[in-house]
């Protein structure tokens, strides 16, 4: 039995909690904007006045970067990797085992709350202004908007499952620096968050296409700017769904192993 009301309460409380840290919201928004400007100027320089590169117009590329930064903001507002590791280290997560709820789901729903707060108060206002004042490619049909939102949401779930799984690895490792590096490398490069997959060398593009990370940034983004369109969208959503399933199973596996370790070895 899924107790929606219980998990929803976590969402509400996390929403309220985000409101406590207003400075955090503003500083995160500030750094988001700085990265947007940085990547914007880098891509402007790379295009060097050309209208088009690799079959993608400058305007679409700029849109890609803006949407990507927006999604970075969304994905960054959840419980970060280091915080999960900290909760493992202090034993907070182990203690939650004695509560009548499912721990990974409880964190997911709490993340919904923090993310919703950040989107409503910071990201949406900023990016609405950006879309009004910049020359960006907007989807021309409402269906594309809807598909983009669905795809971005699935991407969020993929990212959550992967990040939580990586964080829970702290249960098994004393030193997690290497794991953290792999995670951030995959999240920034293989996901296509700063360089779209179509600019990758063939072998790397192939590799990225066989990995789940593209589902976090690349697929929703490519749907937004129309790089993926028509029936290809459904295929991409199918790939995302496949990956969210796989990553969820991975998270379940890691969580079961971790909680098993806690109950047998004392964490």
């Amino acid at each position: 039995m899924f107790r929606f009301r219980l998990y929803w309460t976590f969402t509400k409380k996390a929403f309220l909690r985000s409101a406590v840290y207003r400075f955090d919201v503003w500083s995160r928004l500030g750094s988001n904007l700085i990265f947007l400007l940085m990547w914007g100027s880098i891509w402007t320089a790379l295009y060097a006045g050309r209208e088009e590169a690799g079959g993608v117009s400058f305007e679409a590329m700029l849109t890609y970067i803006v949407v990507s930064q927006f999604l970075t903001g969304v994905n960054g507002a959840g419980t970060p990797l280091w915080d999960i590791q900290e909760k493992v280290r202090t034993g907070d997560i182990s203690l939650e085992l004695m509560r009548p709820f499912d721990v990974p789901l409880r964190y997911l729903f709490a993340d919904f709350g923090s993310v919703a707060f950040y989107i409503l108060t910071a990201l949406l206002p900023l990016y609405t202004v950006l879309f009004i004042f910049m020359d960006l490619t907007l989807p021309d049909s409402w269906q594309t908007w809807v598909l983009f939102i669905i795809s971005a949401f699935i991407g969020f779930l993929i990212r959550y499952c992967i990040e939580m799984s990586f964080g829970l690895l702290s249960f098994f490792l004393v030193e997690t620096g290497g794991i953290v590096d792999i995670f951030y490398f995959a999240m920034s490069l293989l996901s296509g968050s700063v360089i779209p997959l179509w600019f990758f060398p063939g072998w790397l593009e192939k590799m990225a296409l066989y990995l789940p990370f593209q589902g976090i940034y690349y697929i929703p983004n490519a749907i937004f700017i129309g790089e993926i369109s028509g029936s290809a969208i459904l295929l991409s959503l199918g790939i995302q769904l496949f990956w969210v399933g796989v990553c969820y199973l991975l998270l379940r596996l890691v969580w079961n192993r971790a909680s098993h370790k806690v109950v047998v070895q004392g964490g």
Binding site: L6, T9, K13, R17, M98, P100, V262, V263, G266
Partner: protein, 335 residues
């Protein structure tokens, strides 16, 4: 009815053996040896509904390990545990509804939110009805004075306030069993007293079974009718506080200051357990020998400059067990 039953409970952990030196470090990178550490060796006890039991022992004796097995977040290596008819580790979530847990060292409340928000969250977690929630909140507010800080974020509460909030939080869902792990640690005298009164009250009025681990001897003396003493993963004593008090009520300590410093002082009927230059501490049983007999013995060979007779409290026996281990105690002082 026995609400908690523990039989031949054992828990051992595999601890990675760290080898020293560079070669050892390289070796452990590939293959690591493990040593078995027995945290709980063989503990059995049962607790009746409504009892208030002190679960006492030095650091590392196996207290927390036992409590963790009772809460279900640790699986025993062998032996049986039953809490309110449920095997905790097999049915963790169901067991969770039957127990309330307070850790003096950490909080179960949401750090950044006003205290009331955590209570509301717990209400949902444990599916407490609106009516019952209100009743409990009213009662706790009255006894614990929660209203003075319900709207303050938990991180801004004083330790005393936080503990009051924590204990109220652990009782919101009316658990029949309450585990208190050092509930008075770090509190000032007044706050400690308030906490004890509250614990006593809920035990009396709500018939909640309380298991208390603490290092505070006053907690034990004032709260517990029964004490389970464990050391090195084994139960060394289990019985009524009154018995302990009577037994050690008979023990006295005679402290004598001699004129000259002496290397050795022997008394029959008493046991010298501590000495410092010319001062000697002698423990004796009031029923077996009188203080004046001992003094007479000593004055035969030494000149006494000063003397005092002390009544030892439970504290002294327990601290001896902490320092020397129960097995090493002389037979005369064993419970």
């Amino acid at each position: 009815m026995m609400i908690i039953e523990v039989e031949h409970l054992m828990k051992d952990f595999m601890v990675a053996k760290r080898e020293t030196g560079l070669l050892g470090a390289m070796k452990s990178l590939v293959k690591r040896e493990h040593i078995k550490k027995e945290a709980v060796k063989d503990i059995s006890f049962s607790i009746e509904e409504g009892e208030m039991v002190g679960y006492i022992g030095p650091n590392g004796a196996g207290k927390s390990t036992t409590i963790k097995m009772l809460t279900g977040i640790l699986v025993p290596s062998s032996g049986k545990v039953k809490v309110n008819g449920i095997v905790p580790y097999e049915n963790r979530q169901k067991n969770a509804k039957n127990i309330g847990v307070v850790f003096g060292q950490r909080t179960q409340l949401w750090w950044d939110l006003p205290t009331i928000e955590s209570f509301e969250l717990l209400k949902e977690i444990y599916q407490v009805s609106n009516k019952r929630y209100k009743e409990n909140m009213d009662t706790f507010t009255e006894i614990l004075g929660l209203d003075e800080f319900l709207n303050t974020p938990v991180r801004q509460l004083s330790l005393g306030q936080r503990m009051r909030a924590d204990i109220a939080a652990s009782l919101l869902h009316d658990p029949p069993i309450l585990f208190l792990d050092e509930p008075t640690i770090g509190l000032d005298v007044v706050a400690k007293e308030k906490m004890r009164t509250f614990i006593k009250e809920i035990n009396n009025e709500r018939k909640i079974t309380v298991i208390l681990t603490t290092h505070d001897m006053e907690d034990i003396e004032k709260l517990c009718e029964r004490m389970i003493l464990i050391d090195h993963g084994q139960k060394v004593y289990d019985g009524e506080m009154a018995v302990v008090k009577e037994k050690f009520g008979k023990n006295r300590i005679l402290i004598v200051d001699l004129e000259e410093s002496s290397h050795r002082l022997k008394v029959t009927g008493g046991e010298v357990f501590k000495e410092e230059s010319s001062r000697f501490w002698i423990r004796f049983n009031r029923d077996a020998v009188s203080a004046s007999e001992l003094i007479a013995q000593i004055t035969k060979t030494h000149n006494i400059k000063d003397l005092t007779v002390e009544e030892p409290e439970i504290e002294s026996i327990i601290s001896r067990i902490y320092q020397e281990g129960y097995q090493n105690l002389p037979e005369t002082v064993k419970v």
